[in-house]
Symmetry: C2
Subunit: 299 residues, 2 copies
């Protein structure tokens, strides 16, 4: 399997570096007894991850010529939201995972109370950043960002999906139920990431819809590929405990479809994602390359 | 000690009823496996509490003739944020409290994972409601509400205060450190509640500042009065485990100052809060009555 094409690899590294700088800037150390809170927030947010979600926001915004620093702020806000969800997912009462991105998860590196609070504060900060005037000069755009992120992250999105996942643990779900679970748990935030560029760019409803559809299909492809990596990868390659899904009885499409059919479905979804970009022409080439990359990556 | 004056009592009941209706409307049952998530969110948000924070938002908005349904939406969002903080505070890794408002706390009535997720989703929903066009026709006002709530609730506000509280457990704090802790942990959200009315009413900076100062002093008075109730009340009167603060070594001003000096300070703060309302004339009478009430209430 090929790794990312050179131009995509460079673009991913570039966005990761811009978003890292934005995160560092947006999460400055705190003084006093609450310093530990920010240490945990920074520990779980900075210095790791592919920044796939931020990349989607920055590159979809680039289609509309949006100021890159504004797009990086939105990318940073999305990464904060994502980091909060990982911190809470890893808690003993949830997935009880000791490893995240190859290092101790937040509650292992700090303690459970600090991890709960760090996740809480990262969610708050994500919405704060989106509402700040530096993110966009138009308050309508900022409100739409807050609204769309909340819809993606909340009870009808990511947290709803996480709840289904907890309820379903140990049960056998049908393929369509797993698809819905994953669309909520991970898909909605990835969809928002792509849509955020259209919101920042004040795109019309058709272009916004196309980018949302691209993000939705890409997210579904990504999730299946992630499950495949979990099943066949090692802890060293993927930076978390390998085989964890199967061991914990987590519902995955891989288990429902088998390895080969799951891989086929991921590729079909990635192709469908890319087709949403047709009307954007060559300037969407990086987003196209990303669709190919997510299903063929090795880590 | 007198109970609330009849007109204040009627106004509190009226706002509580309006906000209860708004919450019921804004948190409709979910279908599917995630139904349990919304049950927990509704369990912890509906049907209880004095709705002090919502009252502040609605009555401060009334000073500017704001549409009452818009103000009730903001009051409901604040109550969701408050409920999320209580759910997470009660968790075993935090205060480990089994009782809340006289009934089992969320993780006791459901389970720990559901409680974590219900808190998470309530925070998200609070920001979502503020950003929705139904809350205010002007997107600038909606962005300011999101921003000010995030500042009050996040790492430099409520969650920061909660972190200090966790770090300080078992230690003896000086009175000024306790004051700062409580200003962050409970004061900032109460301050925002009063300020929210000014934001909704598109008030000028002086009026907004006066309402924020009123809320800040009222919040400080309220917190001391709450500590006094915890020390002298019974579980039946206050709806949570009595004497819990002292038993857990929680830092309170009461412990630092003693009962009589703490009561004096609460009254002085309430008087100072009321003085911020001078320029609003008789239409601020309910907010004045509230300042007197919070330090003399019995539950």
């Amino acid at each position: 399997m090929p790794d990312a094409a050179p131009s995509l690899r460079a673009a991913l590294a570039q966005v990761a570096s811009e978003v890292e700088a934005a995160l560092d800037d947006l999460l400055p150390p705190l003084e006093g007894a609450e310093a530990r809170l920010m240490e945990a927030m920074r520990y779980s947010t900075l210095g790791g991850g592919k920044r796939l979600r931020a990349f989607l926001a920055v590159e979809s915004a680039a289609l509309f010529g949006v100021d890159r620093r504004c797009a990086a702020r939105v990318g940073a806000a999305i990464e904060m939201l994502h980091a909060y969800s990982l911190i809470h997912d890893d808690l003993p009462a949830m997935d009880n995972d000791d490893l995240r991105r190859g290092k101790p998860s937040c509650h292992r590196a700090f303690d459970e109370a600090t991890a709960i609070l760090a996740g809480d504060a990262l969610q708050t900060r994500a919405f704060e950043v989106l509402a700040e005037p530096d993110t966009h000069s138009n308050p309508d755009a900022r409100c739409e960002l807050v609204l769309a992120l909340a819809q993606a992250a909340g009870m009808r999105g990511m947290v709803g999906g996480q709840m289904i996942d907890m309820v379903a643990e140990g049960q056998t779900l049908a393929a369509n139920e797993i698809t819905r679970l994953q669309a909520l748990k991970t898909g909605r935030l990835i969809q928002f990431s792509a849509e955020a560029g259209a919101i920042l760019g004040r795109a019309g409803p058709v272009q916004r819809h196309l980018l949302a559809a691209y993000g939705r299909d890409l997210g579904a492809a990504f999730q299946i590929a992630d499950d495949v990596l979990d099943a066949v990868g090692t802890a060293d390659e993927i930076g978390k405990t390998a085989g964890k899904d199967a061991a914990s009885g987590k519902a995955t499409l891989l288990a429902a479809l088998g390895l080969e059919r799951a891989r086929e479905q991921a590729r079909a979804l990635a192709a469908q994602a890319a087709s949403c970009l047709d009307s954007f022409g060559p300037k969407a080439d990086l987003l196209r390359a990303l669709a190919a990359y997510v299903v063929d990556r090795r880590h």
